[in-house]
Symmetry: C2
Subunit: 154 residues, 2 copies
């Protein structure tokens, strides 16, 4: 996959969390995903297709992290990962991919976005079925660490 | 969503299972999804984007059903939902969407497919974040019932 894709996605995530939830997330070191590292309690995933590349982005949140984000965005804290929270994760991944699409467009890569899906359940594992490496990016916030997986073929 | 999309996807699923696994699946009655009905142990999901519509297809298998399909396709039965099985589910959803893309193309709907993702874990829930109704299709096979969710905006 093209490493040029990583930074626009990273920037878009920081923008979304900073603008929508007033959270400064600290990005960690990108790594090539080995095995099934990314386990969250709720994961948003979206496919992006373009003439030059296609791929998907997933964001996987532990429950305490997404409940805090929900509290900040909605001004009330849900009791658990309910429909309000999965809707919010769908909106977050939509905004992240929308921002990334714009930044990638500036680099000459045009994408159409698929509809997002949100997966919930303790210990679920999301495995992108791409040929080639997947990049995993950890982000640290006050309430824990969440992970972004980036996976493109081109 | 356009109900014209349901039959090509249904036909493609029957084709894939019949050709690849020698399984005759019996489709049940399509229903509008209410709440989070589709819970499987392993789910393949793929986004499709086109100029006239965009959406996603998910197939969610209980463990006994996918292990039997794996045995028939690979000539050995995996002990559980391991990497071999998630790879297989990725291939199945790829083949299903590839077949559906061809049939939908004949109807004048062109799609690009995103990369598939496969989600595993007991009691996970996959929620398509689309405006409008989602169609859920049950399929009965000897080892149980699996579900297909179809979700398009157009």
């Amino acid at each position: 996959m093209n490493v040029e894709f990583v930074n626009p996605i990273l920037v878009s995530i920081l923008n979304v969390l900073s603008t929508m939830a007033k959270i400064d997330a600290k990005p960690g070191r990108p790594a090539v995903k080995q095995g099934d590292v990314s386990r969250g309690d709720v994961t948003g995933i979206i496919g992006m297709t373009g003439s030059k590349a296609r791929g998907s982005i997933a964001i996987s949140f532990p429950e305490p992290v997404i409940l805090d984000i929900a509290k900040r965005m909605l001004n009330e804290e849900p009791a658990g990962v309910d429909a309000t929270v999965t809707d919010l994760v769908g909106e977050i991944i939509n905004m992240v991919s929308g921002g990334a699409k714009k930044l990638l467009g500036d680099q000459g890569y045009d994408f159409d976005m698929a509809l997002p899906a949100v997966v919930s359940g303790k210990n679920h594992v999301v495995d992108h079925k791409s040929r080639g490496p997947k990049i995993i990016l950890p982000f640290t916030v006050d309430t824990g660490v969440f992970f972004v997986e980036i996976c493109f073929e081109n």
